[in-house]
Subunit: 125 residues, 2 copies
């Protein structure tokens, strides 16, 4: 799984809804599962939460290792996975790498999981 971020974009376009009327295809299921796999980890959920609640909505690696209780390589690893999933964006300023979350990405996932009833016509939001 190299670049799931594009996979998320591809799912957003045709507006695939796993819980809509028709069964999803194997490829779509694998794409969505890939993004969900990135979310389905306690450390990564806490990372997203920590970054979102940071002062400017952004945080660098050195700010995240301590609260998580994980080593710096491990934190970098998780941030990499979240970034490749399209959930985080990375901006390097000087020696620091600042991460902030991509709001539309998570909103898209929430949308995909929302039962069809609530998804009125098409592109909500």
């Amino acid at each position: 799984m190299e670049n799931v971020g594009t996979a998320l974009a591809e799912m957003t376009m045709p507006q695939i809804s796993p819980l809509a009327g028709e069964p999803i295809e194997r490829a779509d299921a694998e794409r969505l599962a890939g993004v969900l796999k990135a979310l389905a980890d306690p450390a990564r959920l806490r990372l997203l939460s920590l970054i979102q609640s940071a002062p400017e909505g952004e945080a660098c690696v050195c700010d995240l290792t301590a609260p998580l209780g994980l080593s710096q390589p491990t934190v970098s690893h998780h941030l990499r996975i979240l970034t490749e999933a399209g959930l985080l964006e990375r901006e390097k300023r000087g020696v620091w790498a600042y991460y902030r979350l991509v709001p539309s990405a998570i909103a898209t996932i929430a949308d995909l999981l929302t039962p069809p009833r609530k998804r009125a016509t098409k592109k909500a939001r």
Copy 2:
């Protein structure tokens, strides 16, 4: 991970939002990750989709093995995981076991993932 279904219920009550104002705790992150792990599998996503799109919104194991291309024990295994996660409910009628999905469960997850903007009320917990 024995009973994630109750975990989802516990998360629903205090209305934990991983992307709300405050960072989530380790235990909450693990509970949510547990439910997301149940979702983060192509076979299980397709199972949910197949069951939802079935005639009466329900399906038995024998109807699901063929479309998935997986063995019957494997399908039973996945259905078990989804059921323990609180995403499916099982009803045994005669020799068959009918599965249907719990709408509120997935709606809850989608809600938890929805960015804080849309969730006006700030439950201080």
